[in-house]
């Protein structure tokens, strides 16, 4: 019974959200459209403007931000997150509300004897940048180091919190009784799958010390991907589609791989066996490059998959507002739903692929074979 109530509530939340947003937009094109309108609305109110710029809307969703916008129908609020800057005069902390929502470098904030402006999601020194500078033209010397709790950082905390709660529940169900119950019976197959089919299979007998990391990275990416697909605040973020997040994940894999490298591993790289002596330096060079390209590929793969997924979904949604024709919304709606479903697959697949490839790299590092 509780299950049915839960299902009903989940459905109700989605439908209430969509209906209300639907009304705000004044579109009435069928169920597929609800979802599309909701997503479009969530990423910013650009839809109402006379001049409609889909690129800006998509960029706004994809990029980081100093504000966290909630626009649920019953709860509309912008949270101003703290801005933490390391400037020439030392640490400077203030609320991003000081910019009053300005993102074009017009509102000047004076703190700690310095003037700051915000251009898109970049905070720069007022005196260093000219007016109407594009965000990509701002050099590192023109801006302070930005350690702010941005939207992505909040999303990271949210993902972490959800992960912590779910996995603690799983842990608890094992200490209470032997048979997993509730959410544990859902998570257990995944844990066993990662341990047996990913870690044990690819790393070999020394798999045990890598399992905690592989499980952490798998569930972190999975949760972040899935939360990123929920189309309303505080979800719908683009955490794993941010190259810095995937960069850190890849760096961790890089460090673990090379710290656990055995003699065999380094011999394989620096003096590859079974190759003519003349070729050895060249092969070694390629192998040395390979140390860096492997985590680099991990970083790019995860980033590009999620980034592309969000961009494609939003592109389909914005097509409706660009075309302004009755024939486009049903098509775009179906395309959006199709992409959503394929993104569900991708969310799982990319978490799996990242974990699997990490395990394979660890396996390469710890393998000891006689040649």
């Amino acid at each position: 019974m509780a299950k049915h109530i839960f299902k009903f509530l989940v459905l109700a939340i989605f439908l209430v959200g969509y209906n209300n947003l639907q009304a705000q937009h004044g579109h009435h094109e069928g169920d597929a459209q609800h979802e599309a309108a909701a997503t479009a609305h969530e990423e910013g109110q650009a839809g109402e403007d006379a001049k409609y710029d889909p690129t800006e809307l998509i960029n706004h969703h994809i990029s980081d931000s100093h504000d966290y916008k909630f626009d649920l129908p019953f709860f509309e609020k912008t949270f101003h997150l703290p801005v933490i800057l390391w400037t020439k005069n030392g640490l400077t902390v203030f609320s991003s509300g000081a910019f009053e929502g300005d993102e074009h470098g017009e509102k000047v904030v004076e703190k700690n004897g310095q003037k700051f402006v915000r251009i898109h999601d970049i905070i720069a020194y007022k005196d260093a940048v000219k007016e109407h500078t594009k965000p990509e033209d701002i050099a590192m010397s023109q801006r302070p180091l930005d350690f702010s709790i941005t939207k992505n950082v909040v999303s990271l905390f949210l993902t972490f919190l959800a992960l912590f709660i779910v996995l603690m529940l799983v842990k608890k169900s094992y200490t209470d009784k032997k048979v997993p119950k509730g959410i544990a019976s859902f998570i257990e197959p995944l844990i066993v799958f990662i341990r047996d089919d990913v870690a044990k299979e690819n790393i070999g007998p020394k798999y045990e010390k890598f399992v905690p990391f592989l499980l952490t990275v798998f569930f972190f990416i999975l949760f972040a991907n899935l939360f990123g697909l929920i189309p309303f605040s505080p979800f719908g973020y683009n955490l794993t589609g941010n190259i810095l997040v995937t960069f850190v994940l890849a760096i961790i894999v890089f460090i673990i791989t090379n710290l656990h490298g055995t003699k065999d591993y380094w011999l394989h790289i620096l003096w590859p066996p079974g190759v003519p002596v003349i070729l050895k330096p060249f092969i070694a060079l390629i192998e040395l490059l390979g140390i860096f390209t492997k985590p680099f590929a991990l970083m790019i793969r995860l980033f590009a998959n999620i980034f592309a997924g969000h961009t494609i979904i939003l592109t389909f949604v914005t097509m409706i507002f660009v075309a302004k024709s009755w024939s486009v919304p049903p098509l775009a709606g179906f395309a959006t739903i199709f992409m959503y479903i394929s993104e569900l697959l991708v969310a799982f697949l990319q978490a799996y692929v990242f974990t699997l490839l990490s395990a394979i790299y660890f396996g390469m590092a710890v393998k000891e074979e006689a040649h």
Binding site: D197, A297, N305
Partner: protein, 70 residues
Amino acid sequence: MPVASIGAGVGAGLAAIGAGIGIGRIGGSSLEAAARQPELYGKLFTLMIVAAALVEGVAFFAVVVAMGAK
């Protein structure tokens, strides 16, 4: 910079063609292999995913480079 944009688009398109051929071949071959030896399906699936991920990675390299060239 229209020429650079065209170059980026064409480049990304070519990479997509290459990746399409690659993933198509991987999928086809693993399907054939699974049809011959269904009991190996689990192992083949893992191999297929790894190979597909590698091909896809190359395509994404191209996409990211094209995005930078834009």
